[in-house]
Subunit: 245 residues, 2 copies
């Protein structure tokens, strides 16, 4: 059973203000909860149904977390999801300390607003072994529940940073591949070296300022009639063509 105060505390964590205040976030659902329980992140609370706790006894007891065994309706009451789930975790935000090395690939994001896109991009980085994501300060927050949901545990393996992109790009000695509609054909690039894949806002793309600073503008050639690609899809294609082979 959760007390009223505990329920209120968890529900408040759907808001960034309270996540920042308490330095924790929510990870929900069987698959995602297991990823975090298998990691070395600091789990504060486990709220789960009795059958889930029974089936995952070992994972649950591995942590010093407070455990709350609750009926479905009580879980639903604190959940951020529309579809029912069996488990919700309150997890302590880890500090992102790993430095970008010269041989590392990174993805830098300017003003990505959609949490689904942000989470999907973290998942892409996680698939291709891209070590870092660097977000401008006006991006949707990494620990937004919808971002956590879409990233499918990617937070655990990808190092997540916030930075002023102009400064970062003007200082780096790595190549910066900026996604643009009028750049070089991505298929004809030669001499590709690990660097930064730079992706802009969903509707406006990259700001002119960042495009001017980047060392190379790249384009996925269009053969049809669409005006643009979804930001996460474009990131996936650039990741596959630049880092994948």
């Amino acid at each position: 059973m959760l007390s009223k105060a505990q329920s209120k505390y968890i529900r408040a964590l759907s808001q960034q203000k309270y996540r920042k205040q308490h330095n924790v976030f929510i990870a929900e659902g069987d698959k995602i909860a297991k990823e975090w329980l298998m990691s070395d992140w600091n789990i504060k609370m486990i709220v789960a149904t009795a059958d889930w706790v029974e089936q995952n006894h070992q994972l649950v007891t591995k942590h010093n977390a407070e455990l709350f065994t609750v009926p479905d309706h009580e879980l639903k009451n604190v959940s951020t999801l529309q579809t029912p789930n069996k488990v919700l975790l309150v997890v302590s935000m880890a500090k992102q300390t790993s430095e970008v090395g010269a041989g590392d690939w990174s993805i830098a994001l300017e003003h990505i607003q959609d949490p689904g896109n942000m989470g999907t991009i973290i998942r892409i980085a996680d698939w291709f072994g891209i070590k870092h994501i660097i977000a401008s300060e006006d991006c949707v927050e990494f620990f937004n529940p919808k971002v956590v949901q879409a990233a499918m545990g990617g937070h655990i393996r990808v190092s997540l940073h916030e930075a002023k992109l102009k400064e970062l790009i003007s200082k780096t000695e790595q190549p910066v591949y900026a996604a643009a509609l009028d750049g070089d054909d991505i298929y004809s690039l030669t001499d590709v070296k690990p660097g930064i894949i730079l992706i802009g806002n969903e509707s406006k793309g990259l700001s002119q300022d960042l495009l001017d600073t980047a060392s190379q503008k790249v384009t996925i050639p269009r053969k049809g009639g669409a005006e643009s690609l979804n930001a996460a899809v474009a990131t996936g294609i650039l990741a596959a063509l630049l880092t994948g082979r």
Copy 2:
């Protein structure tokens, strides 16, 4: 002004049952509405704010649609979107008659459930000039409002079909590239010819039955820790690697 009956009619179109019954769907928002108004699809109703109507006078008068100039709150009342918009269309579903030709690329989808993914995949096809999308009968419907939203007008240029995939795949003389976790490395494929890119369900992937029927299983090699890629992202990467160059 919309009458009560008209408001009720439009709101009901968020449900598939009523879309099928009336053979119409909703297209919303400035960008998407303009795409449809510039097309030759049969527009039944235009519900828009006065300033939007004024700015788009030519587009509006091009059609024989019923025009309703309404205040913001009335538009919000019939909208399927959470964020405010200036225009909503009720559009007649076009018949999808174009046949798949031997030199055409197609994307076939088995049990894609998420409307955002479906719409994003239509947008991908639209970008790469892939002519056809063929969906199994258990996919989310093409004219679901969230699909229309994510496809950004792709419906207008991509031919959308529903079919029994097993039958289709066993009959086709084209190559069928099935997305799998244990297929051939997509980068090392040679002799790629126009065919069908086959994508499975978001959590379960393709059914064994379809995998067995496909002529070639293909895989985007994983270098990191993620269990899978998002279905739309995987589709985008396969489209880029198979059809893009």
